[in-house]
């Protein structure tokens, strides 16, 4: 699967936050693919690939099922997505808290308390996330050491969406889930009509077919609204916060990903992390 398989349908534009923010097709998967089909080189697309948020919303939308996030990361780094395979040897449950949650110890503690039986992973691969984002090389030894530290875990909850996406591949035998999905049973009864629930984009978009039913259920049972809107071919991300809230009457905003909280500050409504609901 490559940029040459893109049909140019443009469905990726509908969900891409960069497109919504700029209305500039050059900065979208369609723009990159079409340019490459007509001779553009990696260097020509540097600004386009640098602007991508790696939210992954374009992937489930793409009818050609192109691995669009991998394709951006490859364009950034100039090399294929790092592959690795790990044999799971233990039964631990680990939380990889990530930068945003670690920065807020109270919320981290609440999250851990809700995740019964989970330990906080000492190494949550923050440097690996950074390298994946930036398209810089991850040393083989560093990746091996990080993955070895996870080989004792059968269940892993990951806050950083990009790492979640990578670990679903690297730890194929373990259960690797996002925070939102894992806490859903604990918090669903606390959501209500008037709430606007912000699903973390990367976690959702890399596992859309499985998760879509769960969030539909959450919406139906709680009466809340969410950023899983009309299209449901993928999900608009917090970068489009103003557009997401346009025309809605919202009393409270609940985010799965703490890093997305600030995006909703403009609304003048309480913005909670989902762990604060329980």
């Amino acid at each position: 699967m490559s940029h040459h398989d893109c049909s140019g349908c443009g469905l990726c534009l509908l969900v891409c936050p960069v497109w919504h923010g700029t209305r500039d097709v050059r900065l979208t998967p369609k723009g990159r693919a079409r340019a490459i089909q007509h001779g553009a080189k990696r260097e020509d697309l540097a600004a386009s690939t640098a602007g991508c948020t790696l939210c992954g919303a374009c992937e489930p939308a793409c009818p050609e099922e192109l691995p669009l996030v991998d394709m951006v990361m490859e364009l950034r780094s100039g090399s294929p997505f790092p592959e690795a395979e790990v044999r799971i040897q233990g039964k631990k449950k680990l939380l990889l808290a990530g930068r945003a949650l670690r920065a807020e110890p109270d919320r981290l503690a609440r999250t851990l308390a809700l995740l019964e039986g989970y330990e906080l992973a000492a190494d949550d691969g923050a440097d690996i996330v950074e390298a994946l984002e930036a398209g810089t090389t991850i040393a083989d030894e560093r990746l091996a050491a990080f993955l070895a530290s996870l080989a004792l875990a059968r269940q892993v909850v990951v806050a950083e969406g990009l790492l979640l996406r990578a670990l679903r591949r690297w730890l194929a035998d373990a259960s690797v889930r996002g925070i939102g999905e894992t806490l859903l049973p604990a918090i669903s009864a606390k959501l209500r009509a008037g709430d606007f629930y912000v699903i973390a984009s990367q976690a959702f978009n890399c596992d859309q077919p499985r998760l879509i039913g769960r969030y539909d259920w959450l919406r139906a049972t709680s009466g809340c609204e969410m950023n899983l809107d009309l299209q449901r071919i993928a999900m608009p991300v917090a970068g489009q916060a103003r557009w997401i809230l346009e025309g809605r009457r919202v009393e409270r905003i609940v985010v799965e990903d703490l890093a997305e909280r600030a995006a909703f500050d403009f609304a003048g409504k309480p913005v909670l992390h989902l762990a604060e609901l329980a």
Binding site: L13, D24, R34, H38, D44, L45, P63, L230
Partner: protein, 510 residues
């Protein structure tokens, strides 16, 4: 700078003489003065090869051409400056919305490509009057998404998510509710248009009516649509029903009966060759469905899914030499049926977000880097013959293909809008359209083969006095044949008056 081969050259359609309106290809005379003039006015012009390459072809993927520069539309004022400079320097401007044309109508063979999707904001929703004012580069899907927050929906739009409002108003816009609500172009109440000479004008049936008539269904010849006021309606999920036929004639007769009786809210025919013909019928309300069951269900000749599957199995069991076709039908059914019934789009037996469901299926199962979709639009009376003759052409060219048939309710008060458009001049009440889409798959067909196929379909149209949805671009050799010199000359005179340097979408129609 030189321009590549001419896909619409006088000899492009073998045996079909074509009158050339533009004296010759544009060879970039005056480009640098034009560029300087745009720069002086602060109009961004993108000239790098990567950007120009993005627009090198349209959804059809058979017509190729490179603009010299791309302008991303941002405002009517900016477009006005662009068109004024283009008139002065005689630089062609090709407008593109979603770029979902298939005959190269939105491909620039030199000059400027104006990308309208840069103007994609919804400006105002009037819930009481049931109207929306929107920038015209917006995709229908993005408009629907915004309207849904107010419990509203557009009336009808193409089933492909990424066509734009402006591009659609200029060519038609047919939905499965068009037999009842008409085409998108008939739902525009008012437009803001930038004329080819750069004036920004508001128009409607009552204000600057002549401009309105020419811009609606006008293939972008008489102005760039920058804003549109459209009628909208309350959003309703729908209940879908399918009936299966082995005869085109029987399916079309039933479709037309249902349409004439206003028996459903949505109707259309989708086929796998002429072997598995599906009549889809859908309802916005339980009352309408109950009426259909009472008064019309028993009059339909189609079978249910199971009965049809049994009949088809017997048909192929008796014709084992056609196992390939049987296998194709089986495989196609196995991927298509679940796509139309995806659980996330259904609640309580009703389909939500029909555009998404249909569009996803269209792109996933019909979309390719190359698509040819010739069509015929006729009066209700001529339709069966048109479809049967077009079907014969398909059978001769391709092992696998799809026909998509749908009615279009017409507005008598819009007769003048319909001149030189996809609406056939002899249709009254309702017109009918059929698209003939070969499933090209991984097979490689020469452009000559594809062009010959399209020509044969269009020849049926000439013989029957039909019209076409896609008569511009590579098919424009047919324009004089179907519409006649007199009408074309009349429109050409208007075009010359409105666009003295013939810069706006100059290779599309004339």
């Amino acid at each position: 700078m030189s321009i590549g081969p001419d896909h619409v050259a006088p000899d492009a359609l073998v045996g079909i003489p074509r009158q050339r309106t533009n004296a010759g290809r544009w060879v970039a005379d005056g480009w640098s003065a034009f560029r300087d003039s745009l720069r002086a006015q602060g109009v961004g012009l993108l000239e790098d090869a990567a950007t120009r390459g993005i627009f090198a072809t349209d959804a059809g993927g058979t017509a190729y051409g490179l603009p010299h520069g791309v302008v991303i539309a941002r405002s009517a004022a900016q477009i006005s400056s662009l068109l004024k400079a283009a008139q002065t320097h005689a630089v062609p401007v090709t407008v593109r919305g979603g770029g979902l044309t298939t005959e190269g109508e939105s491909v620039a063979y030199g000059g400027v490509l104006l990308d309208m999707t840069g103007m994609s904001n919804v400006l105002e929703i009037d819930e009481r009057a049931l109207t929306v004012r929107t920038q015209a580069g917006i995709f229908w899907s993005a408009l629907a998404e915004r309207l849904r927050r107010q419990g509203l929906d557009y009336l009808s739009a193409p089933l492909n998510l990424t066509s734009s409002v402006g591009g659609t108003l200029g060519v038609g816009g047919i939905d499965v509710n068009s037999p009842h609500l008409g085409c998108s172009a008939d739902q525009a109440l008012a437009l803001q248009v930038v004329t080819p000479t750069g004036e920004i004008v508001e128009c409607s049936d009552t204000e600057n009516a002549t401009l309105f008539q020419r811009v609606i269904l006008g293939y972008g010849q008489f102005g760039v649509i920058t804003e549109a006021t459209l009628r909208v309606r309350r959003y309703q999920p729908l209940r879908m029903r399918y009936f299966y036929y082995a005869s085109l004639r029987a399916a079309i007769a039933d479709l037309q009966m249902l349409d004439a009786e206003e028996a459903s809210d949505y109707s259309g025919i989708l086929t796998m060759m002429d072997k598995a013909i599906t009549l889809l019928v859908a309802f916005d309300s339980d009352e309408k469905e109950a009426r259909f069951e009472r008064a019309f269900l028993s009059r339909l000749h189609g079978a249910g899914e199971f009965a049809f599957a049994v009949r088809t199995a017997i048909f192929y069991a008796l014709r084992p030499w056609r196992w390939r076709e049987a296998l194709y039908l089986y495989r196609r059914k196995s991927v298509l049926f679940p796509e139309f019934r995806r659980p996330e789009f259904h609640r309580g037996g009703k389909m939500h977000d029909r555009t998404v469901v249909f569009s996803r299926a269209v792109w996933k199962h019909w979309g390719r880097r190359q698509m040819v979709i010739p069509d015929l639009a006729t009066s209700a009376e001529k339709f069966i013959e048109a479809v049967e003759r077009g079907n014969e052409v398909c059978r001769r060219y391709f092992p696998y293909y799809t026909l998509y048939c749908v009615g279009i309710k017409l507005r008598e008060d819009h007769r003048t809008h319909y001149e030189l458009s996809c609406i056939p001049p002899d249709a009254r009440g309702r017109a009918y359209g059929c698209e003939f889409e070969p499933m090209l798959g991984d097979a490689v067909y020469s452009r000559d083969t594809l062009q010959s196929f399209k020509n044969e379909i269009y020849d049926v149209g000439v013989a029957l006095g039909a019209s076409y949805y896609r008569f511009g671009g590579m098919m424009k050799g047919y324009i004089r044949r179907v519409f006649g010199d007199q009408l074309v000359e009349h429109h050409l005179t208007m075009k010359r008056a409105a666009d003295p340097a013939m810069i706006l979408n100059r290779d599309v129609v004339f």
